[in-house]
Structure formats: structure tokens, C-alpha cells
């Protein structure tokens, strides 16, 4: 057995060997704890440079590894943020980890949101459920760099008011004049004063300039399908629409074969792809 150098270097490991990291802080995003955000810190060294939209492979001791988007960073505190929804074997085990617990991290992997393409333009972010996690770093970027985009429209869809994510962020973002945030829920409640219905409707109504807009989409596939249609109907061209697609991923480095989607390996060529490059396969079922 040969201990790898990179572990000592504290960077997420190359290849298939994770680096040791630790959960520095944990907070519940949803009251029942089914969605939670970790701030994670390497045991040694700096956090790696990542681009919004990329993901890490997170490892829970003896249980397994899952691809999870980077949902932000605490640049000052030397941490990265990950927001997880507990849905299965590994993520449920991760739900039970506490502050101070050790994990493994590999990454960052995959393609990023093309912030340069959106520079100076209207930027439309369409998020469904946990799909807001990989878009959060884009909002953080827009907060720190008010001149980066003309206006930003963050259109969030979630099941019900209780499952709204990043509530404090949403309030802070909403206060900025160049950032417009709309939350819509499938089912409201007596106290809900916001929108009810599918997020597509917000795409239809939002006050962006379709001839000079760029859209980033992340959420369940049916939601993204309808959102693409709505954007096209508004006149946003296919090469200005970017989607983040989810596939089973077990290596993140292009060698396990699980993330096949048509001609793409989604861990390497994705998860963020430009719509005109996938239009021919986007609607093919069971691909």
C-alpha cells in the first residue's frame, strides 16, 4: 500500500482516490432535514478552484460516493458548499453525518455554466427543486459583480413553500435591483402569497429581452423540456440555452461508462450542455 501524495497535498484526489475532507458546518435547508447544506474543508491545503456548475464526488465512509454540485464557497473560511437532498442509500447516510465528521472528496469535475457567454446580457436561471444548488454560485457571482450581467432573472420552482431552498439567500438576492427572483410552488398553502403553478409560466412572463438573453436550466427533465419550449417561444435562440443534465455517475473521470447520454459522457462533456448541441437527443426517451 502506497499512500498517495495528493492526499497530503489536500487537494481532492486525482483519479479515483478521494482526498480527506471534513464537514466544517451543517445546516438544514428544509425543516425535516431532507435537504441540508454542508460547508466542507480539506484536511490539508487549499480548496480547489471550481467553476459554477461543476460537481464533486463526495464519499461517505464504507457507504459510497455520489456526484454533488458545488453550491457555493466560503472563500474567506476556506470551505466549499454542497447542498444535498436525501433520496437513497448514500445521501441518507450523509444526512446522518454531523459537523466534524470526515468525508472524502474528488473533483471538481464536469463542464461549467458559461458565464462569459452571459456577460452583459440578460441572464435567466430556471431552477427546479435541488436544481437550484448548482445555480447558486451563479447568483453569488452576480451579487459580487453587479456589472457582470444586465439583469438576472432567477425563476425557482418547488413542490411547496416548505421545500423552498436557500431562503435567506433568496431574500438577500431579491433586494438587489438587477436581480429579480420569482418563486413558484406546485401547491401553495393558506399563508402562501407567491406564485402557484409550473415555473414555465414564469418563463413566459418574465421581463427579459429574448434577443439578448442567455438561459441556464437545472431541474427535473420534464421541467427543463417545458422551460426550453417556453424560452424558444419567447425567441431565445437554441445556442443561448444551457441545460444541466443528470445521469448515473460512478467515476466522474470518464472511465466507468455510467453517464452515457447519446454521444456524450456526462461527467466529462456535461453536465452543462448547450441546447443546440443536444436538441436532436433531448426528447428521445430512455436514452
Amino acid at each position: 500500500m502506497d499512500s498517495l501524495e495528493q492526499a497530503a497535498a489536500g487537494r481532492p484526489g486525482e483519479g479515483l482516490v478521494p482526498a480527506p475532507w471534513r464537514i466544517a458546518a451543517r445546516r438544514e435547508e428544509i425543516a425535516d432535514g431532507s435537504v441540508f447544506t454542508w460547508s466542507v474543508r480539506p484536511e490539508a491545503g487549499e480548496v480547489p478552484i471550481y467553476r459554477p456548475g461543476q460537481f464533486n464526488m463526495l464519499y461517505a465512509f464504507g457507504v459510497g460516493e455520489v456526484p454533488i454540485s458545488i453550491s457555493g464557497d466560503g472563500a474567506a473560511s476556506g470551505t466549499l458548499m454542497h447542498t444535498l437532498r436525501a433520496v437513497g442509500r448514500v445521501t441518507r447516510a450523509m444526512q446522518n453525518l454531523k459537523e466534524g465528521d470526515a468525508i472524502g472528496v474528488r473533483g471538481p469535475f464536469g463542464t461549467a455554466w458559461p458565464l462569459e457567454t452571459a456577460r452583459g446580457r440578460d441572464l435567466i436561471l430556471v431552477a427546479g427543486g435541488i436544481g437550484l444548488a448548482p445555480l447558486r454560485p451563479v447568483m453569488c457571482h452576480a451579487m459580487r459583480n453587479p456589472e457582470a450581467f444586465r439583469r438576472v432573472f432567477l425563476l425557482i420552482g418547488c413542490r411547496d413553500p416548505q421545500s423552498e431552498l436557500f431562503r435567506d439567500d433568496v431574500i438577500a438576492w431579491s433586494r438587489r435591483p438587477h436581480l429579480q427572483v420569482e418563486v413558484t410552488v406546485d401547491r401553495g398553502g393558506p399563508a402562501w402569497r407567491g406564485h402557484v403553478g409550473v415555473v414555465t409560466k414564469r418563463v413566459q412572463r418574465a421581463d427579459f429581452d429574448p434577443s439578448d438573453a442567455v438561459a441556464f436550466l437545472c431541474g427535473p427533465e420534464p421541467m427543463m423540456r417545458f422551460a426550453v419550449l417556453a424560452l424558444q417561444q419567447r425567441g431565445v435562440s437554441d445556442d443561448r440555452i444551457f441545460v444541466s443534465m443528470e445521469r448515473n455517475m460512478q467515476c466522474g473521470i470518464g472511465t466507468c461508462g455510467h453517464c452515457q447520454w447519446g454521444r456524450y459522457l456526462m461527467c466529462r462533456d456535461g453536465p452543462v450542455l448547450r441546447y443546440d448541441e443536444i436538441a436532436d437527443i433531448f426528447d428521445v426517451r430512455e436514452l
Binding site: M1, P20, G62, R247, Q250, T255, G257, Y264, R285, L287
Partner: protein, 379 residues
């Protein structure tokens, strides 16, 4: 450099490699099939065995009086079982009392290994896996190391198997590169047996000159050329490669996939015997004491519904979609992902499919199916 070996020369070659410290792997007969395994010596080679292959069919017939050692074609084994093993540890994780995790991976220090009997399609398959596993941005170092430790003695096929289509895939029947030595088995009309041997690398030439065997004469070369041409002429299965990639992409929503859904058992035999199929899944386990965990990678098949598992269910729930994934990856998306076809034309998937599904026949059927039949969506 070219030479001629008689039976003692072939035995001497194997012995020389053993003396040089190589573990020698090659074909041998077991369980009614030609398999690849460690060879004790020349006697382990499958002398007098000929295979008969057809869709869903593989039989070995003994020809006890035939002195040939390589008159068979490819069996169920590929060399990937040694280069990219069916199960392999990725990472070992140790948890210390203060909760710190330590990740280690076993160093890849494979023993020098000599393969004898690799066919042209198999060398092509190794080159395909090279591009996938060693060509990745973060390469599979264990694979790379095992690949680098190889000394390869190819055998030029003296007979085309009943399911072979290497010529159409541009990989055979004659191996032209990727070997250290290449043998052509020559059976004289009088029954004498010999092997024309050609070096393909300085290492190969060095081994050959150390053996001190007779240089090949023009008649030997001519005899070898007759074998090569004869094999090429025998190739009966056809799969014209022109436009294959475009064909598959055009047929993503073809009704023909329904016909596969009703025939294919999703057993995954085709992926297990395919010499280029490389997919793996990971399995995590904790030792009983709770302080050590291990991640192991195992061969995985895209015919397994769990292969495309997402929390909401498998992406490719239907068998038609899984067959489409397999054949489209082999013949189309492999080009986009790794710069070559994923099919080398060895025919194993045809012979070893329990229901005789034939990749070349499925392609022909897709070519024949008319676009009018295309339903709005694949069911």
C-alpha cells in the same frame, strides 16, 4: 526480422520468455471452449482443436491428428480479463480513532506478462481500451501499468471464424501493428508444421535473434502470405462500416428496437465477452471491525437495469432501450467519445448470445427499416 520456427523453436520461444521472467498467457482448452490462461509450456496449447461458431452457437471439435496449435479462432475470453480485470480494488479507506480518513490505492506493479495467441481483432481491442482507459484525462494507471508490462506474440488467423467480420471493421484478419512478434502457422501439404514469425518491435527482434532460429526464406514468406489471403477470403459475415455511425444516430427512434425488446434477454453475455466493453460499477464494503473500508470496481453491463439508475428509476427501463444503448455506443457514440469504433468485428457477441442475436443482422435490419415507420417516441 523474419524467421521460421519448428515445434522446438516454438517451445524454445516460450521457454525463453519464461526464463526472462515473463508470466506466459495463452489459449488452452477448458470446459469445451478455448480460454486464455497461464501456460505451463507448449503442451498446454490447444493442439488439434477447431471451433465452429454461428449465432448463439460455439462448439469445439477435436482433430487429434492435426498438429496445428492455433487453428481455432477467438473464444469467450478476451485479454481484458487480465488487462482490465473483472474485479479490482480502487481505494482502501482507513478510519482512525480521531475520525480522520486515510485513502490509499494499491500501487500498480504488474509482473511482466507475455501473451501468446492474440489475434488482430484483439490487438485492435487493446488499442480501443487504451484510448478509453489510458487516454482519459485522469488515466487508469493500473491498466496502463499492466499494458506496459506486456510482451505480445500475435497469431495471424489461419481460418476465419463463423461469426468474424474483422475486415469490415478494419481490424483484421492480418495483424499489422501492436505486437512484438507475430506467428503464422503453416501446415505443409505433407503434414509438417512450422511457424513463420515476424518481429514488430525491437524487443521482439531481440528475443528472436537470441533464439538463434533459421531466417525465413522467400518460400516461407510466400506460404505465410497464402495463409493471410486464404483467411481474408473466408470471411463470410459482412457489416459494411460506411455510414454506420450516422445510421445508428438516425435510427434512435426506430420501431426495430421493439423487436429487440422481445428477443433480447438482457443477460449481458454480449458485454461480458466483448473485448472492448470496459464499464465498471463500484461496490463499497466495510471490514467487520469497522475501521477499514474498501471500494472495488467490477465489470458492469449496460444491459443491467441498475446501470442507468437514478433515484427516480432507471433511465433505460426497457430492454429495447438497453440494446439500443449498447449497439449505438459500440458503432456510433464511441467515435464521438473516443475517436474510433467500439466494435472490432470479433463476433463474440454473436456466438455467445443465448438467443443468437447478431449485431450485423440487426444493423442490416436497421438499414432496411424505412423512416415512415418511425413512431413519435420510442416506447
Amino acid at each position: 526480422m523474419e524467421a521460421m520456427l519448428d515445434i522446438d523453436g516454438l517451445a524454445g520461444l516460450i521457454d525463453a520468455l519464461k526464463r526472462d521472467g515473463y508470466d506466459v498467457l495463452g489459449p488452452t482448452v477448458r470446459g469445451g471452449a478455448i480460454v486464455y490462461d497461464h501456460l505451463s509450456g507448449i503442451d498446454a496449447l490447444p493442439q488439434g482443436w477447431r471451433d465452429e461458431q454461428a449465432p448463439g452457437h460455439y462448439r469445439l471439435h477435436p482433430q487429434p491428428d492435426d498438429p496445428r496449435r492455433f487453428d481455432h479462432t477467438v473464444g469467450p475470453h478476451g485479454w481484458k480479463r487480465f488487462l482490465h480485470p473483472a474485479s479490482e480494488s480502487q481505494v482502501r479507506v482507513t478510519r482512525s480513532a480521531d475520525g480522520v480518513l486515510r485513502f490509499e490505492s494499491a500501487p500498480a506493479t504488474p509482473a511482466p506478462t507475455a501473451l501468446i495467441g492474440a489475434r488482430a481483432c484483439e490487438l485492435a481491442a487493446m488499442a480501443v481500451q487504451d484510448r478509453v482507459l489510458a487516454g482519459a484525462a485522469q488515466p487508469d494507471r493500473a491498466f496502463e501499468a499492466r499494458r506496459a508490462a506486456l510482451f505480445i506474440i500475435a497469431v495471424q488467423c489461419g481460418r476465419a471464424g463463423g461469426t468474424c467480420f474483422c475486415a469490415d471493421m478494419g481490424t483484421g484478419p492480418r495483424a499489422e501493428t501492436g505486437y512484438d512478434l507475430a506467428l503464422t502457422e503453416i501446415l505443409e501439404p505433407g503434414g509438417a508444421i512450422g511457424w513463420h514469425v515476424e518481429s514488430g518491435s525491437p524487443r521482439g527482434a531481440a528475443v528472436l535473434s537470441r533464439l538463434g532460429v533459421a531466417a525465413a526464406q522467400p518460400v516461407d514468406r510466400a506460404a505465410a502470405e497464402r495463409v493471410w489471403a486464404g483467411t481474408r477470403a473466408q470471411l463470410a459475415v459482412r457489416m459494411p462500416a460506411a455510414g454506420l455511425r450516422e445510421l445508428l444516430y438516425r435510427k434512435l427512434e426506430d420501431p426495430h428496437w421493439d423487436s429487440l425488446a422481445s428477443r433480447c434477454l438482457a443477460c449481458g453475455n454480449c458485454t461480458a465477452v466483448c473485448p472492448t466493453c470496459y464499464c465498471t460499477r463500484v461496490v463499497d464494503a466495510v471490514a467487520l471491525d469497522g475501521w477499514i473500508a474498501e471500494r472495488t470496481q467490477e465489470w458492469e453491463s449496460c444491459f443491467n437495469p441498475e446501470f442507468s439508475h437514478l433515484p427516480g428509476g432507471s433511465v433505460r427501463g426497457g430492454i429495447g432501450a438497453r440494446y439500443r444503448q449498447w449497439i449505438t455506443h459500440k458503432l456510433a457514440s464511441w467515435h464521438d467519445q473516443f475517436g474510433s469504433s467500439g466494435c472490432v468485428g470479433c463476433g463474440r457477441c454473436i456466438s455467445w448470445c443465448p438467443v443468437g442475436i447478431d449485431i450485423t443482422a440487426e444493423v442490416a435490419a436497421l438499414r432496411a427499416s424505412t423512416p415512415q415507420d418511425v413512431p413519435e417516441r420510442l416506447e
